[in-house]
């Protein structure tokens, strides 16, 4: 139904364009006055008047059709059946009605469910047809209206350009809308979470056991939502990752900027960039398939046991992924140091190494720090590697040989397969998401500040 509607609208837009163009040509051929705008612009004008209102209508309609029909449906359900139901149970009932309406027969459905399902599908059909009729009418009205306005004096080009500017502004607002959507949704769900679990407990608690009670009177009914072990695990893994990535990336950058020949650089740089282009799910599988057994075997040969999902494995593999980040950002920072500083150092008789460590690195330090911070923000936000290679049980430890969990792992495990939004378990994921968002934002802002400040020094 919907695809036919879109197809019909598309055809109407094309028709509108053709009609407008043709009419403009006809007017231009007969009239004594020269047309203000080219015929194409008249065509575009008609097309815009056909397309934009009808598409806006369709989008708004689709947005509200579901909720409105649900609301109407709840209104018609027998009072004695609905009263006393919690929101979750009501949702369950509604989804049961919907799946009956979709033809998935439940083993035993009450009479009122069947009749509600029948009503539901009837209303949906009515709504679909109403939308179809309304959208087509609006589109046709658009054609008629626009056709009328076509004349030699009509400034079609200016109007079309205004519409285009409007569309461009609307598009650029999407970035703001996205950020707003992220902040609003995270904040909204987090506030609901903090209604159930105190924010102080969340931020300072040492115990993370997000369970939902199966029975009302269960002891662990509330679960424990102290996020400190989760943060600690995130930091530990990020620390391991940076311990791997920073020296390798930095030394690689030094060699590439100061020692390597142009040819060597041209081969090695893209090779290192490949590391950054590999999807993280691949790194996760690599960690499980190769790195974890290798490290375990090595540890066993050395005479001690480490967990297969230790922080060392996840952090180490994440470090590999971050090498090109550090190396290319440090590379940029070192290369941006003015040549005069190098020349001055060489003129004093310093070796290349001395120039690098004593002149270039201090001068490039803010840029390098910025790069490292950006990598840190990557490391705390990284998801798939830790989901596959790190633990899911939160333990407060700073031993990299033990499994720890991270914020992103918790978000994924709490939310995969769960869509009920009324228990603290799923809402906790949003609270963690909010903290993750704020933390990465903060680190990024600091990093960008440092980088910008440093740039100003030499410009």
């Amino acid at each position: 139904m919907l695809s036919y509607l879109f197809l019909a609208l598309l055809l109407l837009i094309l028709a509108g364009f053709a009609l407008g163009q043709r009419k403009a040509l006809a007017v231009g051929a007969t009239g004594d006055v020269r047309m203000h705008s080219l015929a194409d612009y008249h065509g575009w004008y008609v097309a815009a008047l056909v397309g934009i209102p009808s598409f806006v209508l369709v989008l708004l309609w689709l947005l509200f059709q579901g909720p409105v029909i649900d609301w109407l449906l709840i209104g018609t359900l027998p009072k004695d059946r609905v009263e006393g139901l919690g929101k979750g149970q009501l949702d369950l009932l509604i989804s049961q009605i919907k799946s009956v309406a979709a033809g998935n027969i439940f083993s035993e459905s009450d009479e009122f469910v069947l009749s509600a399902a029948e009503r539901y599908s009837r209303w949906n059909t009515i709504a679909d047809w109403a939308l179809f009729a309304l959208a087509i009418t609006i589109a046709l009205a658009g054609i008629a209206l626009a056709q009328q306005r076509i004349s030699a004096r009509f400034r079609a080009r200016n109007t079309v350009e205004k519409v285009m500017s409007g569309l461009m502004i609307a598009c650029s607002l999407i970035a703001i809308l996205t950020t707003f959507g992220i902040v609003a949704s995270l904040l909204y769900e987090s506030l609901r979470f903090f209604d159930k679990v105190s924010i102080v407990d969340f931020l300072t608690g040492l115990n993370w056991e997000p369970q939902i009670a199966i029975r009302e009177d269960q002891v662990t009914a509330g679960g424990a939502f102290g996020a400190i072990p989760v943060f600690a695990g995130t930091l530990l893994i990020a620390l391991v990752a940076m311990a791997v990535a920073t020296p390798i990336g930095l030394f690689a950058a030094i060699y590439l900027t100061e020692y390597a020949s142009a040819k060597f650089r041209a081969v090695i740089k893209p090779l290192l960039e490949i590391l950054a282009g590999i999807p993280t799910v691949v790194y996760g599988f690599f960690a499980v398939l190769t790195v974890s057994p290798a490290i375990r075997n090595f540890a066993q040969a050395m005479g001690f046991d480490i967990a297969p999902n230790s922080a060392l494995v996840a952090g180490g593999v994440m470090g590999i992924m971050l090498i090109p980040f550090i190396s290319s950002l440090s590379d940029d920072a070192i290369a941006a140091v003015p040549q005069a500083m190098r020349d001055g150092s060489y003129a004093l008789g310093a070796t290349k190494g001395e120039t690098t460590t004593k002149v270039l690195l201090p001068a490039a330090l803010p840029g390098i720090m910025g790069g490292i911070l950006l990598a840190v923000s990557r490391a705390i936000g990284e998801t798939m590697i830790v989901v596959m290679a790190a633990g899911i049980i939160a333990s407060l430890t700073f031993n990299p040989f033990e499994p720890v969990t991270t914020v992103t792992v918790q978000i994924m495990t709490l939310l995969i397969g769960d869509t009920e939004f009324d228990n603290p378990k799923t809402l906790a994921a949003f609270a963690l998401g909010l903290l993750l968002f704020l933390a990465t934002l903060l680190v990024n802002v600091i990093a960008l500040r440092i980088v910008q400040k440093y740039r100003e020094q030499y410009e």
């Binding site: 947005l63 579901g66 909720p67 350009e161 285009m164 500017s165 461009m168 598009c171 650029s172 999407i174 970035a175 996205t178 950020t179 959507g181 992220i182 949704s185 995270l186 909204y188 390798i248 690689a252 030094i254 060699y255 590439l256 020692y259 090695i268 090779l271 290192l272 590391l275 590999i278 999807p279 993280t280 799910v281 691949v282 996760g284 599988f285 690599f286 398939l289 190769t290 066993q300 590999i320 090109p324 190396s327 070796t351 290349k352 190494g353 001395e354 950006l374 923000s377 936000g381 990284e382 998801t383 798939m384 989901v387 994924m412 995969i416 869509t419 998401g433 968002f437 934002l441 990024n444």
Partner: protein, 552 residues
Amino acid sequence: MSDGIAQSPGVPARESCWGSDAAKRRVRRRYGADRRLQIYGLGSIGLAVALLGILFSSLIFSGYVAFVTTKVGLKIYLDPNIIDQADPGAANYRKMTRSAFFAYFPEVTSPKERRQLAKLLSRGAQYVVRDYVVAHPEEIGNLVEIKVPLSDPFDQLYKGVIPAEIDALSGDRIELFNVLKRGGVLHVENDKAFAKADIYINQADVPEGDVEAADYQRMVNEAFRAFYMRARTLAYEEILSDQAAAAVKARVLADPGLVGKTIQINLPLSEHYDNLARTGEAKVLNPRFSSKKDLEWFDSLKKRGLLSTPFTWELFVNADSRFPELAGLSGALTGSFLALLVCFLLSFPIGIATALYLEEFASKNRWTDLIEVNINNLAAVPSVVFGLLGLAVFLNAFGLPRSAPLVGGIVLSLMTLPTIIVATRAALKAVPPSIREGGYGVGASKHQVMLHHVLPLAMPGILTGTIIGLARALGETAPLLLIGMNAFIPSIENMGLLQPAMALPTQIFSWADSPERGFVSRTSAAILILLAFLIIMNAIAVFLRHRVERKW
């Protein structure tokens, strides 16, 4: 400044001659430091490249076997009495397939054995036959040869991924065993291995002189504690056969006077350690196979040349399956394609419009600054947060269907937008002002200059950025998992923008989680295919950048 170089009293004058040994040493040290820095740099690069190599080679090594499947050729008579011409899919293909397979083993007749024998075949073998018949209805009535896959363990065995027998004892157990061996405790006699032990028949363990009821196991354990140094976690008792205590008992019963004395006795070893002592290895049947008989049947098939390993077209043609030998990627590829299509259709026009507005039309003010900050910020937001956004806004607030490629595409497009916007702005900036001025010079409006001249010239650069952005979107996993795009899709017939779907990276994730051994190589193969797509996309981007983009 002459003070600066004046010698302080008491400090010997520094050798000022550049040729002196001390000066040479200093120079050598300084250049040594220089060389060390170079070596660290080269070492780091070498390490990074080596890690990249290990990553690829381990994937290839583990994945290449998934590109072939072990199949057995079955001669099946497509009986027109069983198969209905009008509805060929409805016949009992399970029975047909099995009886064709049993024909290779006429000696196996009991139902129990036949059930076990049937486990050699993939449980999806019948569907392979069914699909063949449905595709070739003209063959009904003929005797056809159809190759059907073996079940996962035998597939892996034939390809040499897993062995038929594995070591019965773990490495640390063998190590413990070697401690005993080095201690000269073990010896082989009459094709049987024994441990020589000095056992102290402790009076305390013989309650009231009753040698019948004495705790001989304890005495044996005490005697062996000397050897087990670091074996606290290992069951060192398991080295000895459970007959060991009985042997001691027999000896003491024969001569009760031994109580309180130390006896020297040969204790029998348990089965695996006995094998290890005699032959140097202890093997057991790989637990993936239920009995030795399975392997005999398998060997017989192999010897008769009935097995072959053709290329696994199923990997591309089939959708997901619970049986690794039948699982394919077509569902995941379709899902990824649909999601990327939505992503492209949204992010490409929106990205270009945004970039065009910010770069060419907007005046610098607080609004545009805010937009720019937002775009830069979005590029750094962790992908899982976009998943949360999709879950809370698109699924919960807007009520869009779960697991649908439409939602996946929308979320991916939000993540791709910053990349496209940045690339477009760079490409627009690269178009020289002379083009614009030429346009204005002949009286074009600003929109006309942009749309007719600047944008077409910037298009290769924009496409490069778009392809790179889409390549990144293709590998994105976390947001798709959060909106449920990891549905189990056994058939691609009903796939659409609003139907549940699977994407390539989420398929990799769910296969990587599956316990069957065959999914390990399937996962690696899926990763190789994903990487191949990424390499192709990036190669196109590089080609565009070097060949099509104009340098002004």
